[in-house]
Structures are given as C-alpha cells and as structure tokens.
Amino acid sequence: MEKKLIYLDNNATTRVDDNVYEAMLPYFKDEYANPSSMYQFATRASHALNDAREQVRAFFNAKSEKEILFTSCGSESANTAIRGVLNMNKNKKHIITTKVEHPCVLNLYQTLEKQGYKVDYIGVNSVGELDLEQLSEAINDDTALVSVMYANNETGVINPIEKISEIIKRKNPNTKFFVDAVQVAGKIPIDVQALGVDLLGISGHKFHAPKGVGALYVNSKTIITPLIIGGHQERGKRAGTENVPYIVGLGKACDIAQHFLKYEATEVKRLRDKLENGILKNIYNARLNTGLANRVPNTTNIGFEYIEGELILLHLSDLGICASSGSACTSGSLEPSHVLRAMNVPFTAIHGSIRFSLSKYTTDSDIDYVNSVLPGIIDKIRNLSPYQDELAELKRRKAC
C-alpha cells in the first residue's frame, strides 16, 4: 500500500495551487513573448505582467502598482530592500533588526557589520515576543533602517508591525522600515498603508505559487538602488527580462490567497489547534514553545523534552509525515535554532523542538492520523533516552 503523504511543513514551502499552475501554462509555450517588445504578439505578455502587478498591489493594499517590484525570491526581496535603502543613505551607518530574523536577512547584516555598519539585534522574551522598549531605545539619528520580520518562520509569532512603525516615526521619521513578510503572506491580511511600512517583501512559494518568484513593495517616498543592474525592467529597480509565467503565477496566488484569508483564520487555525491540543494532552513531555503569544494560524512549535528532534522527524517520515525541527542535527550546523535560543527555550526541550505548519490543503484526517501515531513515536524515542529519571519526574508532575 502506498503510504499517504501528510505535508505539515508549509512554512518551508507549499504545494502549487492547481489554479495557479493553470494560469501559468499559456506563458510557457503560446505567450512566450518578451513583454518589452514592440509588436502585437508581446501585448498579451505585457498585459499579463500588468495584471499580476495589480493583483499584488491589491494583495498588499498598496496605493499604486508602481510600488510593486517583482523579484526571484524572498531573499532577493530582502537583499534589494536592505542594500537599496543603505546605498541611498551612505552617511548613515546604523541598522536595527531582531535576533530571530530569517538567515537570509541575518547573514546579510553580519556581512554589513564587516563593512562598517553597526547593527543592533533586538531580543525576544520566552514566548518569542519582541522587546519593543529595547527597539525604541536603539533608534537614533544615525539609524538608516529598521528591519523586522512580520511573523517568525519557526514559531509563527507575529510582531506588532503597526506599533513598531509608530515608534520609528516618533523617534526618527527619516529611518526606513523594511518588513520581511514572507511568513504571513496568505496567512493574515497585509495592508502596507495601515502598517505604515516603507518596504515589505514576500516569496511566492510560501503561499501556493511556485519557487523562483517573489515581490517587494517599496512605497513612493522611498528611493532604492537596484541590486541587479542592467536593463530598464521594473522601472530600473530590477534588471532582467521579467519571468512572465512565474509572475503570472504569483499574481494568481495573491488573488486566491486573498479569498482564503478567512479560511486560514478559522479552518486552518481550528486544525492547528486540534493538532496542538492533541499533542499537549497525550504526550507528557511536550511543551508549547510559544505560550500565549499571538501567532499566524497555521504554525505550532512544540518541544519534546529529553529527546532529539531529528529522530522524531525520521520516524514521522517513515509514516509519510513531513515536519521540521529546530534541532542542531537537522540543520547541518551543530547548534540548535537561533530563534529558540533567543527565546531561551530550556536546553532540555530545544533539541527536541518540532514545527508543524499547516495549509489550506491540510485535512481533519491528516491531523487525526498524526495525533494517533505521534504518542507511540515519542514513547519509542523516550525509551532510548538516558534521562529516564527526569522523564519520570515530568510524568509525575503532569499527572498532578
């Protein structure tokens, strides 16, 4: 019997929506024209590009479609925003970000530090909430950029972007604000005007568009230099012939996601909570790493104490279940997740932390199956642990 695939790693990547795929197809074979060309054959490609830009604009609630740039991925969106802003403000050498940003942003800041920038990394509390006071105090006259992720990819914890925006405007109105929104697109509404952000980046494959396409919002008051220099595409902000089929796919995905936001907030959340409650109820050494923090509806991050995450994933994988772990062993690095470390997740739980991330394709039967097999897997791995006394103590306390 072919085992069923239960995909609960949607913060890593998602399945392409059938309607997105269908929308893309004509632009591979029939409508392959370069949208910049001066003949009629190119108009449909050119219109498709405009339509997609309008779809992304609507998705962000941006004022004008001129504020939307297409990129190849979330990392390119972030790199374009950050380097673009800094290049336009060469005399300012101070940046503020968080300790829990995605590596595509963190590693860029570490590179910038070597080039003479001073970067402040704002910490989080034990449930992953950003220290706004520390952030406020860090802003000064020299601050060129504040960069905060909308929601964290590992924990799903949402940062109060609107509030941060107000703080920045109050402390230094010239400071630009970039938001990495890769993990919220398609999960909660994005309204760049209400949020008051200057730049905001997304990546298509996190919400049912294919890999290889992203977008960046740059408001009309913010000037950036291009990352890729060449032709005049994207109003000179991103050279290279537009990837028409993928951009069409991204536009379509934005359109569909807009209509699924309510489903995410209700159904996906219900399934996530069902999984989470099942685990916390049936497995005595499980702890919810995010406590009561405000999260995106699809993510849960649970630490299984005194056992190791990779082994849990391997056993899940044997049953066709896909999840991911903050453990050192799975990353190829030797240290556990920088996010969970910044939260001071106890070392008894950090190595056994598992992230389950759902999508609109997750079903009740998927969750029921995971809830039925996971206790057995955890029990099997617990039996291998050298920490039998500590586990017995946990079990006793849970029973009380």
């Binding site: 005194y306 056992i307 190791e308 995450g309 990779e310 082994l311 391997l314 056993h315 044997d318 453990s327 050192a328 062993c329 799975t330 190829g332 690095s333 030797l334 240290e335 556990p336 070392f347 008894t348 190595h351 039996n383 291998l384 642990s385 050298p386 920490y387 039998q388």
Partner: protein
C-alpha cells in the same frame, strides 16, 4: 535529508540492546544534553570478555545507530579487542556516515573509552595506566568551549581518521561548530600534529640501524623504565629485529594481567612516537 545508509536506517528504526544494566561492570558516558547528544553505555564483563552491552542515547538517527551497532560489535569480544575499536570502525560497520555526522561515531568511541577507563581504574594492579591517564587529563586543555572539546580529543580524531582540515575536525568532534572562535586554535593543532609526524618520518629515515638501536635503548632506559619503576615494576630490552622490539617485564609488571596493556599503550606508543611509528613491542618471558 541526510543520505543515510540502509544499515543506519535499520539501526535507528530497530535499535538493538537498548536499556540499562543495573549491575554493570563498566559504564561510559559521552556528550551532554546541552550539546544535543549523549550516549551512556553499560557493559557486563566476565573473564576479560564483554558478555553483555546496553545503551541509552539522546541524539539523532546516526547517534542511535552508532550506539546500537557498537553494542553489537563488542558483545562476545575480549576487552583487548574491544579496546582496539575506533570511531572509524563504528562508521565503517554502519556502511559510512555523512561527513557532518561523523561526530556521532566519535561519541560512540568516547563512551566506550570512558567505560573501559572506568573498568581499568577499578583494578588496583593497573596504577601505571591510571597515572598515565591522570597525567594526560591534567595536561589536557579545552579548545572548543561551546562543546567542551579538548586538545586530546582533537589529537585522537586526527590520529584515527587522518583529518586534514578544520572543517573535518568540526564534523568529527563538533569543535568549532558553534561560535567558531577556536578555529585558529584547531588549525594550530592540525599544523603541530602534521609537523610532528613529518619530523618523526624525517628522523626515522635518517637513523642508521645502529643509531636506531641506541635510540630505542636510551628511551627505554630514560623514559619508560623510570615510569614503570614508580609502580614497582621495570623493563629491559632484550633484542631488536627490524621493527620488532623484544622486552622483558619485571617486578610487579610481570604477571600483571594488564601487562599487555602496559606494553601496548605505554611502551609501544612511546617508542612509536619517538623513534619509528612501525615499531612493534613483543614481550619475552
């Protein structure tokens, strides 16, 4: 996804000899909860033979597989044979491990070494070994503070696996895998190690047979014999034939059931390090 061998997958899916031996004769521990993996190994030893072994592991798939196969490798083996097992043997038995996971095999080796050290410590006749260990531990210094990896551990990993780069040392021992501040120090250890090896090679090739005999004799008299005398024993050189060095153990050393250990771990290692790495020490009665 790691590229694990069938054997690794079999062992983490169906680990052998899991658990604890309540009246174990030797227990060894390596790693820690904070570092992300820990192995505890329990041995039952009778008449110099490992009659039973069990393990408890907190760690990833390859850590469990390394522990599991290690118990299979040592049950029924003599202590002398078990002592010869290295991390490389564990990895080989598993059909190889991904380079980033070699430290799991090293953890198996270290837990085994720790168990056997404890076992020997209990034996009052083996004070010589005891002292040797005491000394090396005292001299040993922590290189990687993040993972608590010592200079001796790195040295050992270089020796057994022929590692050449800092990255390889990180894969095998974890040293340098977190903050990376000790990477320069690791490079120094690698340089020193290979410099030393080269020097020994050079010296070896320049020694004439007569010089070699004189050197072996002088090292036995001035370095090895005084150490053994401290424990009421002694050693004399009886003959040298090519790379074979024939010696006679006297006093408390002769008849000591760990004499073979003294001979191999101490006498032979010292001569190999100072004169020629091909030297084999043979005891004559």
């Amino acid at each position: 996804m790691w590229d694990y061998s069938e054997k690794v997958m079999d062992h983490y899916r169906n680990p052998r000899n899991v658990g604890k031996i309540d009246d174990a004769d030797a227990i060894g521990v390596a790693g820690s909860l904070t570092c992300g993996d820990q192995l505890k190994i329990y041995l039952k030893i009778k008449d110099g033979i490992v009659t039973d072994a069990k393990f408890q592991t907190f760690g990833c798939g390859s850590a469990v597989a390394s522990s599991s196969i290690l118990t299979e490798m040592i049950i029924g083996k003599s202590i002398d044979d078990v002592r010869k097992i290295t991390n490389k043997d564990i990895a080989d038995q598993l059909g190889g491990l991904p380079p980033e996971k070699m430290h799991c095999s090293v953890m198996g080796y270290e837990a085994l070494e720790d168990a056997l050290k404890g076992y020997v410590d209990k034996d009052e006749l083996d004070e010589a070994m005891d002292e040797l260990h005491g000394k090396t531990e005292k001299q040993d210094k922590i290189v990687c503070t993040c993972f608590g990896v010592t200079e001796n551990q790195i040295w050992e990993a270089l020796k057994i696996n022929g590692l050449k780069t800092v990255e390889e040392v990180t894969n095998y021992t974890k040293a340098g895998g977190a903050c990376g501040k000790c990477k320069g120090l690791i490079q120094d250890i690698i340089d020193t190690y290979y410099h030393k090896e080269k020097k020994i090679e050079e010296e070896k090739s320049t020694l004439s047979p007569a010089q070699k005999i004189l050197k072996i004799n002088s090292i036995i008299e001035n370095q090895i014999s005084p150490e053994l005398q401290k424990d009421g024993g002694d050693i004399t050189l009886t003959d040298i034939d090519g790379d074979k060095v024939y010696v006679r153990l006297r006093g408390r050393c002769s008849g000591c059931k760990n004499s073979n250990l003294t001979l191999k771990s101490f006498v032979e290692t010292t001569l190999r390090e100072t004169v020629d790495k091909n030297i084999e020490v043979v005891e004559v009665n």
